[in-house]
Amino acid sequence: MDKVLFGDNQFFAVNHASDEKARAQSVRFKEDKAIMKVLDDAIDLGINTFMCTTHDRIANICDIIRANPDRYKNFNIYPCMPYAHKYANAVTELGIIGTIKQYVPGNIFGTFAKGGLAFVNKDFIKLMELLIDAEMKMFKGINTPVIFIQNVIVDMILGLKMYDVFKAYDEYIRKKYNAEPGYITMNMPALLDVLNSLGIENPIICSSINKIGFRMSGGIELYEKYLNEKQFRPIAMQVLAAGALRPKEAIQYLEKFPNIESVLFGASSKGHIQETKELIESVI
């Protein structure tokens, strides 16, 4: 993995500290070309990995990338699925079965369709695979060497103790997409213990890692212990703790943990991207 991973929250009105800033971002990135401009800036600065949710608008970005193979031949996307709000809003309105009907491709009540058969047989793993395929469709022809599941799903499976789902996900991503499975979580120590217990060794885990312990459930001490003592491939996110920390002190904190492989961050201005990238590369 690259040391610097470029994130997408800024493009989709996600700001963990301010709804108002989030709204301003959504105005700025109304057009896909505004997103592409920032991505191009990042690429020009030597960033080659974009870690993004499977938001509908990413499909448009993928179209642009496919249409310019020379420019983007070394460019990687790490998809993070699913775009949870899409499903969450659908569940409120349609219920869980209604949501499955809406998003599993094909008619799930047609027993001859793949999805229909999986639904009738209550073959949950097959349903999961179909949903993964539906989310991955937009990335066809693009390098996706690591594929993540979003924290809301990872952490729900963790809480419900439905651990075999991790195993099935892990196997499917490796087999079907020839990619490395990744996990985003707000509960890193608990997740690592579970993955190890399933025989999933040295997993890629993306979690909040910051000096003030923001969104580090289980506590900062436990996180630091795991970062120092356990074997896994950590990606640090929310390093700035949603803007509560200044970039320099925030990134210097990471220096204590040589095991951290990559840092995920998002920014909108070229100057900001350059500054953060250089800071990260100076400590990782």
Partner: protein, 337 residues
């Protein structure tokens, strides 16, 4: 270890089940739902026992507490049965469909001395707690007006759906979205005693309102306005805010930040004249297990803590939930005028 069980496995029920399941002091013994699809997933992937009959579950499993996250019309019979059988109860919001039923449940819980809590999670968001503290400290001086708002993209096109589109079952924006804001107003500023100019507007839904607008008068004499719309796709997810105007300035508070403007500084709070912005990062309640937001874990942690230590909750009691139901009824009555 205490034993817990969850009834109703929709979006909130699954979330609660995960939080209860991850709690170090709880053994989640069983779940109950009407959908065999969901129950089969639990059977296949987890160790918990599954039921489609909540009475049977409560009898056989004998849990210390139950979490009830079913559609609102089931709250009354389920909460009643659980309380009668001596179970502590955490119930999703809104609490009851009819205030007289809610009254009965409040009395039953009190007479049995059982822990009772309703799922108004905003009280477990640090910014709203800080807002309440600052108002009690009097930083705004005399309060002259408030605005309570919530917007989000739940129903953004015309199409029928689930129980949420049936008013008699507790569907609609008033019960679902506006109740959150009413409950915040009630606990942070004061209890509403009168609703006027109420408008329940359908935008895309048939049969239920998608937006609620009204004026509210509180028991302490303060008045203000409510504006809630769940058909607003300019918001990525539900956004809830309170704006409070006092003689010494104003505070705009949501789940992520608090913007404070003061005419005169308030030294004891370290608040200067003019604008100050405070962020959730300073106020988030630390949790051991996180799913979708600290507040969802923090409210369950609070409930479990009360059960374990045999004490009543300071937040979101049935009585508080019932009062919000009464305000909902006030608005419905006023809208008919």
């Amino acid at each position: 270890m205490i034993k817990g069980a969850v009834i109703g496995l929709g979006k909130m029920g699954l979330s609660h089940a995960a939080i209860v399941g991850a709690h170090p002091e709880v053994d989640m013994v069983a779940v109950c739902d009407a959908s065999s699809l969901i129950l089969d997933a639990f059977k296949k992937f987890s160790q918990v026992h599954t039921y489609n009959d909540y009475q049977e579950m409560i009898k056989k499993e004998n849990p210390d507490f139950v979490v009830i996250a079913t559609p609102t019309r089931f709250h009354y019979p389920m909460v009643k049965y659980a309380l009668e059988n001596g179970k502590h109860v955490y119930c999703e919001k809104p609490f009851s469909l009819h205030a007289y039923q809610g009254e009965e449940l409040v009395q039953l819980a009190q007479s049995k001395g059982l822990v009772n809590q309703v799922g108004y999670h905003n009280h477990f968001i640090g910014t709203f707690r800080e807002l309440k503290r600052l108002l009690q400290a009097g930083v705004l001086g005399e309060i002259v007006h408030f605005t309570g708002e919530a917007y989000g993209p739940v129903v953004v096109k015309e199409k029928g759906g689930t129980w949420r589109s049936k008013p008699e079952e507790g569907g609609g924006c008033l019960y679902d979205y506006a109740s959150h804001v009413l409950n915040l107003v009630q606990e942070i500023i004061g209890r509403p005693v009168e609703a006027s100019g109420s408008q329940l507007k359908s935008i895309y839904s048939k049969g239920v309102e998608d937006a609620v607008y009204c004026s509210l008068k509180l028991e302490n004499g303060i008045s203000g306005q409510l504006a809630v719309n769940w058909s607003d796709e300019t918001h990525r997810k539900m956004t809830t805010s309170l704006t409070i105007i006092g003689k010494n300035g104003k505070i705009i508070c949501d789940a992520t930040e608090m913007k404070i403007y003061l005419k005169e500084p308030v030294k004891k709070e370290g608040l200067e004249q003019g604008w100050t912005t405070k962020y959730i990062t300073d106020f988030a309640i630390p949790v051991n297990y996180y799913l979708r937001g600290e507040e969802y874990s923090a409210q369950i942690d609070n409930f479990i803590d009360c059960v374990v230590n045999n004490k009543q909750s300071d937040y979101n009691t049935f009585e508080q939930g019932l009062y919000t139901d009464k305000v909902v009824e006030m608005i419905i009555e006023d809208a008919k005028k």
